[in-house]
């Protein structure tokens, strides 16, 4: 089983990531999107392009399919339905809906590819756990 690092792991734990971790890990295209979309420098963009090429070559780039998108939409809908019940019928205003979508896609593609998610933000992923099956490891535990 390969680890899939969430975006925050790349940022917070970059000094702890070893060559062996990189050799073993798979890369989610959603993580690559989050990393790439937040850059403005053309030089950085080139680095991300190179990263994409390398993982694509080794077939370790996890790309969500139509069914992955569908399952994620269903899972998020269930999360929001749960919130609605908890708030006595009021429609939840989730400012993190986009973030939840990305987390769900990372989790779903990891599960389908027999990988586990390593994240520093366990709280958000835990909300998805009842509706989406995947293996979750906190970055604290992973880099201990």
């Amino acid at each position: 089983m390969r680890p899939v690092f969430d975006t925050d792991v790349f940022i917070r734990y970059r000094d702890f990531i070893t060559d062996d971790d990189i050799r073993r890990m798979a890369l989610s295209v959603v993580v690559l999107f989050e990393l790439t979309a937040t850059t403005t420098s053309p030089a950085d963009l080139k680095h991300y392009e190179n990263l994409k090429r390398q993982y694509e070559k080794d077939k370790l780039l996890l790309v969500p399919t139509l069914s992955d998108w569908w399952e994620c939409a269903r899972a998020i809908s269930r999360v929001r339905h749960g919130q609605k019940l908890a708030s006595h019928g009021r429609t939840p205003r989730d400012p993190k809906a986009q973030r939840l979508q990305n987390d769900a896609l990372i989790a779903r593609t990891a599960q389908v590819s027999d990988c586990y998610v390593v994240t520093a933000n366990v709280k958000d992923f835990r909300r998805l756990k009842p509706h989406l099956k995947f293996w979750l490891v906190s970055s604290e535990e992973y880099f201990r």
Partner: protein
């Protein structure tokens, strides 16, 4: 005759010592080799690409900190 035998024995001892030294050295070297991870060309390329990205992130964070300060 006796001196010859002693001489032969000493040379054997010396050989043994050097041999031991050699084996000891080679053992150490093999340990070092075991400690070093070997990666395939593709893995190395992937590692290099990721390392560059990690460095990029480090630079970006430092620039953000500088802006904030």
């Amino acid at each position: 005759m006796g001196i010859e035998i002693v001489g032969w024995y000493i040379s054997q001892l010396e050989d043994g010592m050097t041999n031991n030294k050699l084996t000891r050295r080679s053992k150490d070297e093999s340990k070092k080799k075991l400690g070093k991870k070997t990666y395939t060309e593709r893995e190395r390329a992937r590692i290099d690409a990721t390392r560059k990205v990690l460095l990029t992130l480090e630079k970006r964070e430092k620039a953000q900190q500088r802006k904030a300060a």
